[in-house]
Symmetry: D2
């Protein structure tokens, strides 16, 4: 119904590799009314030949091209690609792309800068080490300038985005201790992807909650990498994700040790994010809720005193598919094309 912006002179032509999953679909929802990008390529290996409406009926009529195989892509007609392919296969696909293409990769393949850490957590050597070295880790608010000039951006994971936004500035400022950070995170099921898995079935997840990947989730080293950079020394964190009976959203409840008190921490964060369009530090007493960021690129942060002396609680809320994935990817791509950072991301959250 709403034709996608056609590729006029001033817009960049972008492609989406792996367009049939949730992050692909979310990119296309947001790109449907993006003034700076027009979509010239959609790939999906198993659904090649089908219309986008066949895999995402909600986007039928948005004027997007049909799905093709990667091998049939006409790269010359593109300026940039969003890569939404599975972890592992991504690195060779990106390594084979023409060099004129800017890339935002939503997989985990280029997030870990240290090849040994990658190998330890993914059980195999990285297949594109040079690219890995070149990639910029694109947590936008924390790496804006590097992103501007990057050719390849590793888009952060959803959980790491929710954890680093509140934690990194406080570690940089030395306001919290780095050896006692506990991140209790709660995520909607779309974070598990669109692959058919028993564990993601409605009847397995509905009306219940459980922790998973306890002390073993691959987002832990990604969080630790970012926090180590912020503090200048190795950081090891507790990271305990939970699966929630909801489609979207991440709430990270973070327990830290600090002598600054909630007010001190809140002020530091408020100062740090004062001019950010997407991050908002809530006033004392207000707690973030995932439903207040749904569908938006917003991150809400609340800070509370703990009952235990010397402890504080940070709470952040994002939409895992937007600020935790496709929204941040567009935010980064905007910067890489010298567009206003908020282009295509202005929508208010959807509540209820």
């Amino acid at each position: 119904m709403s034709p996608s912006s056609s590729g006029t002179g001033n817009t960049a032509r972008v492609g989406v590799l792996g367009a049939s999953g949730y992050t692909g679909g979310e990119l296309l929802r947001l790109l449907a009314h993006h003034d700076g990008f027009s979509v010239g390529l959609l790939t999906a290996e198993r659904r090649a030949g089908q219309s986008l409406g066949a895999v995402f009926p909600h986007l039928d009529g948005a004027g997007y091209p049909d799905l093709v195989k990667i091998e049939d892509a006409a790269w010359d007609a593109l300026d940039a690609v969003f890569c939404c392919l599975p972890h592992g296969t991504t690195q060779e696909v990106i390594a084979a792309l023409p060099e004129h293409l800017k890339v935002v990769d939503l997989s985990a393949d280029f997030r870990l800068a240290d090849p040994e850490v990658y190998a330890a957590w993914y059980g195999r050597a990285h297949g594109a080490v040079a690219l890995q070295a070149e990639a910029v880790y694109g947590l936008t608010e924390l790496a804006r300038e590097e992103v501007r000039s990057a050719r390849l951006v590793a888009n952060p994971g959803c959980y790491p985005t929710s954890a680093q936004l509140p934690l990194a500035p406080l570690l940089e400022d030395g306001l919290i201790e780095s050896d006692d950070i506990i991140i209790d995170a709660k995520s909607g099921v779309s974070g598990a992807g669109r692959e058919a898995k028993q564990a993601s079935l409605f009847a397995e997840v509905g009306e219940g909650v459980h922790a998973y990947g306890i002390a073993a989730h691959r987002h832990a080293p990604e969080i630790e990498q970012g926090l180590s950079a912020a503090t200048g020394a190795p950081v090891r964190v507790n990271f305990t994700p939970h699966l929630m009976p909801m489609n979207r959203g991440i709430l990270a409840t973070i327990y830290v040790r600090s002598r600054a008190g909630a007010d001190g921490l809140r002020e530091a964060l408020a100062r740090r994010y004062a001019d950010e369009p997407f991050v908002r530090v809530l006033p004392a007493g207000m707690a973030p809720a995932t439903r207040h960021v749904r569908g938006s690129n917003h991150c809400l942060i609340g800070v509370f005193d703990d009952r235990i002396e010397g402890r504080a609680i940070l709470i952040s809320a994002i939409d895992n598919l937007v600020k935790g994935a496709s929204g941040q990817a567009i935010q980064n791509m905007n910067l890489m094309h010298a567009l206003p950072e908020t282009t295509g991301l202005e929508q208010a959250p959807l509540f209820p």
Copy 2:
């Protein structure tokens, strides 16, 4: 975070009366990036004096004015109002408004043209009969020209919108019989409003489904009024609403008698809605789902043959808060201000 458009010379100044309920909040979500309207007034009797963010945290930072009482409104500074007040009290509020204000009323007060029908279903005489006679029933696709020149538009109910869009054209064309229309409708809980009621509690509604208001729902006469107009004679329908464990969305499964067959009905509807920006008739075999219209002003319609000879099935899906309420209200207000009808309503649906 995203400042609402300020009232420059070319925008109309609008107010929202009753801004603290779900339809009020949804209007403000959609108006946050509307190019033609700026919001100059928000009222909420019990929450007067508070910021909008206090009642709708997801809209905090959108630059809206604080909530005031209706008695404190400065009407001269406004060009139009959306009225989201409870049924019954609405009519006297609107009757007291200055005449220069254009009004889209989202309550039921002006939907029933016949004062006797109103009295029969609402248990009291209508308090503003002259206004009731003046009001235009604003199912936009079916009354576009009347809406353009209206001063007071009665915005249709959510269920009636979902039922009339597929049914009215087919009745006009004489393609279905008018004495055997069965409307089995399924709605999300936001349709019950934001008032604290036991029946709307999460624990009363979650993990279950039930019918309510069987053969006695006030949307029945509204539907019948519209269908009677379409067919030129009194129509009486079955209308059976069901409450679903979801926030948003209406699916209406409508059972009709017809000799035209599904293909004939589908073609008639496709022809009727070919140029409509918000209504899409699905190809044979595709069934609408509420999740494919979530957050958008879209209406999807599918048509199927029944196993019973001479019967067919029409299915429509809308978001009850958008095309079923606030989205259609903006669509109407756009027309009343000679703006492009889709202004502020271009967002793609949110899935998942």
Copy 3:
């Protein structure tokens, strides 16, 4: 925690074939405290060698045997089996069972008595036609005496149970017309089984509703078979299933033509089911809700006048996994062993 009843002299030894799916798990929940049956065999081809707790943690500690392959079953130690295998493969498994075993089959393989109807809907000839002729269709309340003496019971489908319980007695009594029956059914997602399918993922189903299998669902001929038997002539019905964002429950809203009026229909049903332990006809004005039967073997039926003259509305609610599957299977198996019909099925519904 709660040891399953051990096989003492007075209990029958039963097996569950295909114990790792939802109907298998539900059987074992209910059998955990059944006084007349002890469980001596659980099979699951892909999970053979594992404990039941590995596939159903909620049943860990209930004292059940480990899962084995069917080929490793010791049939001599058993008196009866519940068969929860997929449609199609079931018939050859049952055909190969020793004759001393009583069988309740929860698949669709033996539900359709006419081999041609089976072939038309399942796309292949039936592989055990003699057994098919022998099988008793076990809608308990309508076939109690045949079930008592049966060796093989075809346990009804979930939707057909919800539809036939209100409809069959009224057709038998000639109180409703048989050529105008519209069954709008709403089901929880567990009805789709535990197989990993994209369409059953939480993020595909959550926060939405849609119709599926419109005029083409395999439960339609099953319903028609039962209603044809009740009326003595071929019946063709509308049957339109909808998928709901909930784990359990079926609500069937059934639109019928009748001159008896709601009161007449209600009285007939109340009379018919007066002594039934699991079927309850609600008083005038009360509507069934799936949450009021959750986890129980109950069926609630409500009857309402329609706004259309000469029409009425029947509404039934069951738990699709209990009265719609495993509960009714136990009810039948109780009868086949001359046990009180309610043995193991006395639990009150779980609300909220």
Copy 4:
């Protein structure tokens, strides 16, 4: 449908005060098949005169008496009462009861042994200090002998049950440090009660998660009281509850400091709860899920090593309405009547 056990010679006659809320309804679900108790009184002030089925349709037909006002109760015909009245009003009601009645109180009124702590958290002096001194805090597994001989049992809160079961034994054994306990708890909405509150509406809670009562929830002092008793010195904990989009269940993820390692902690808990019928310590690697205890009186506990050296993670899951309220109340009342502790509580969990 399933008649409640009538009051024969060997059963005790019990009443339920405040029978129209969720804990009242849950008591009656469980008591419907309790061999040792028959129900002789149900009170509900605002619903007095109505049948139980009018407030809980799922219990209609269970043979319970109609609701009456407390002032109309015939206390002589009873042996014991469950008290499900609101906090605050409970203490005067219980103080006025005849002394021959045994009482299990599900409110918070008698949970805090120290009147000053009560006053500090509830904003008023306690109105029945002598009774408060007499009351036994009935976390059954930790106070079994005191409960046996108690006349008044203060039934623990839902969160405190989920927190103390894993923590108390470890503190008693000195295996974890008492000054660094962080309890991140997630609860279903039924924990908020059946009162009509905007914050508990489906559309406010669905599809989202948020923390509430941060560092200020009244269950914090209750937890601290229990842990202080276990450790012999004042304990102060972090307790951060979260509201989940589900009806039932509490998952408590508890972060502790310990040199014992997960294996050491798990073994200590397994030893402590080896003979308990309702508490199960999971083997290494298995994480509790609320859906695996739904509808049952079970508590599952899992123990995991943390990534941070010297830290461990305890996770417990209960059904907030059963082990967290009505189930534990019956467990206590069983003990008070020298009945087997599991009477009426044998049901297996309901999954999915």
